[in-house]
């Protein structure tokens, strides 16, 4: 007895055979126990394989190649100042969180106290290459980020904060990531918000609305008609470095 070719049986199981090939296979299978058994077993394996679920990509999987890409000749400088228009364009592209102007009043910081950010005091360093990565367990909401941006802005401008400010209530300082983790986080944020000008002043890893996220605070110099410096808050997904939120407050 001549048995159907293996590729034909694959087509039979997949249901992709033409009518005449399928009829020929059916005729053979009606009289061949061996092929019938093979087809049954192969079809069962196919079903089992198709039930294997797709697994989400782990965090940071893209970072090494992005870091290498940024070092290649011709790569645009990630820290270059591209003007206010770029910030506006970025803000339009991402899911935008528009923060109100924050003046450091106790009302603003009370808003933060209601959010889930942990209470810590964090130093801010102006040099982007040395900004530490704060690792926090907080799950930030847009409101919590509003408060955090206000507190950071207040610190940058040395304005006093309200007594209930969550960052000054005396709990333990956040865990600080390695320099490598900080560099990866910075690369991730700057990949998400390409061409947006600014100098990194603070870096946090936490979650944003449930998603693992890097939060970067950037100071932007005056330009494009702006009268004052801006503090922008950029939130990027740890998982894939997609932009999650973008906002700015006046300093």
């Amino acid at each position: 007895m001549t048995h159907p070719a293996e590729d034909l049986l694959t087509g039979y199981i997949d249901g992709t055979l033409g009518e005449s090939d399928r009829a020929a296979a059916d005729t053979h299978l009606a009289v061949c126990a061996r092929c019938t058994k093979d087809v049954t077993r192969a079809a069962g394996a196919r079903s089992a394989l198709r039930a294997i679920p797709e697994v989400p990509v782990p965090e940071d999987v893209a970072i090494p190649s992005i870091a290498e890409a940024s070092r290649r000749p011709g790569a645009p400088g990630w820290h270059r100042w591209a003007g206010a228009a770029a910030a506006v364009a970025a803000a339009a592209l991402v899911a935008t969180l528009v923060l109100p102007k924050v003046n450091g009043s106790s009302d603003d910081t009370n808003a933060g106290a209601a959010a889930s950010a942990p209470a810590t005091r964090v130093g801010v360093q102006p040099d982007a290459s040395q900004v530490p990565l704060e690792i926090r367990t907080a799950d930030y909401s847009p409101d919590a980020l509003t408060a955090l941006a206000g507190q950071t802005a207040a610190r940058l401008t040395s304005r006093p904060q309200g007594a209930n400010a969550p960052e000054t209530s005396g709990t333990a300082a956040p865990r600080v990531g390695t320099a490598e983790a900080a560099a990866s986080a910075t690369a991730c944020i700057e990949m998400a918000f390409r061409e947006v000008p600014g100098s990194l002043v603070r870096l946090i890893r936490a979650t944003f609305q449930g998603a693992p996220a890097y939060v970067g605070f950037y100071v932007e110099s005056p330009g494009g008609g702006q009268a004052t410096e801006m503090l922008t808050v950029r939130v990027a997904a740890v998982h894939g470095c997609a932009p999650l939120s973008f906002a700015g407050v006046a300093l």
Partner: protein, 199 residues
Amino acid sequence: MTPEPDGSLVRRSLEGDTSAFGELIRRHQTRVYNLCLRMLGNPEDARDATQDAFVAALRKLSGFRGDAAFSTWLHRVAVNVCYDELRRKRRRPMLHVVSEDEDARPPEPGPAAEDHADAIAGSIDAAAALMKIPEEFRLTLVLADVQDLPYEEIANILDVPVGTVKSRVHRGRLALARVIAPEGSGEPQRPSAPSEDSS
């Protein structure tokens, strides 16, 4: 809005636009990671291989001619990274002294005794069973049945005729079935290594 084609992102990447390469990664990382996971069998190795695949892709990007889809080319890069990792693992030195009896065993033994019991009990899932069949079958099944790629694309990735892909799929499915549900006495049959077949 129509998403920017992969080819355009490749061109921009070659011009030094880091964000364009980032977009390529975002688009393809899930498939690449899952391919590596099913080929290598554990998340840590899969993550490392995925990272290596994208770094390799970046370095080889100027060699991408565009005569195949970028996803096909990227799969080929990832497959090579997985094979490199599998070869590296095979070269790892044994950490125990090999007795004469052990030395006499075939180099690639079939499922261990406890695995037989699992298979008989039907408790080996398909993902675990994949790790017990020859790599060439495993790769073809991952691309065809797990990732549901068209046979023509798989043929391009593997650089073999479509008929060969279909033949490997059939043999691979039977090999997998023997691991999941052994025939007859319950003893899983050792799948035969793939040989070159129809074209």
